[in-house]
Symmetry: C2
Amino acid sequence: MNKVGLLVVLSGPSGSGKDTILSELAHKGQNIKVSTSLTTRKAREWEIDGEHYYFVDKDYFQKKIEEGQILEYAVYGNNYYGTPKGPVDAWLEQGETVILKIEVNGAEKIRSFYPDCVSIFLMPPSLKELEERLRKRETEDEDEIQRRLLIAAEEIRRSVEYDYYIVNDAVECAAEDIYAIIRAERHKTQRMKYVISEVINNA
Amino acid sequence: MNKVGLLVVLSGPSGSGKDTILSELAHKGQNIKVSTSLTTRKAREWEIDGEHYYFVDKDYFQKKIEEGQILEYAVYGNNYYGTPKGPVDAWLEQGETVILKIEVNGAEKIRSFYPDCVSIFLMPPSLKELEERLRKRETEDEDEIQRRLLIAAEEIRRSVEYDYYIVNDAVECAAEDIYAIIRAERHKTQRMKYVISEVINNA
């Protein structure tokens, strides 16, 4: 039986709660692989190389782009952020569910490479709530908060490009929603074709 | 906010466990409405009118067909079986999830009337297991069992027409699968369009 993995793209404005939900999903022990991005920015004190990001230098990043090993990348400030291709393809071949946390332009690229992927847009309960969450972090100054809110508004306008839309009112509930989506998608007839053709041949 | 209900079509060979799963789903208290069919056959001793079927006479059934109040119907032996339109439309308008238990030809008709419906094919673990289940019932004679197995083989061949494919190895697990499909489908962007356009207008 051929295995068919499931690629899930998760987007949402900064402050929508993507990271909290991903760690909630990981705790459910659902054989879900979360792709780790490559970045050229410096690690923060609490960040672990290979867990939060792979921290690399610009030459290495550039080389990986040229080798076609970066699925999509974006530049913020002076830093590159990208999704490595190798682990994603290896997991999909093993039949795993792979989640990419990615912004809207990156998601568009992933959809063109992997038309069978499933994309989920995570919404904060409201823009007001989003602003409060960004302020609570106290890691960004006022200009940065305003910039993120502008980007958020643009991202929200593009949420219609996604297959699924989840409002993150409560983390546990939103994580359950994503888990249900994964469970449902794994039962899509098009993903079960190898199983089904086997059954039909025996019928 | 406009409400958009979700119509779910559940098919599967006789003996695949549709009824057991539907009662399992009803016990989960998930605001799931299961459509009750109309039939002209006589009620069995343990059957309750309005619960297992609406038991009606042929004139009434014929009249309802002419009035366009029967979404689909089939004839087995001398008896009519059909899905009444009224309750389905009323529930969908209220934003409910409505499940129709229906065979493959009926499912095809429902898809043409309700293109947004979601269809699920329920498979027994194997044809051998299906045969055993039919025998265990002891309500059908050998000819009838053989006839049902032939129909089952034909239905299984048409399972690829469905959106989702579930193997009923364990009732609880299959019910959870269907519940996940319902939860996921309710988060499809196309079904959330009223919510999303409201959010976008405020962004």
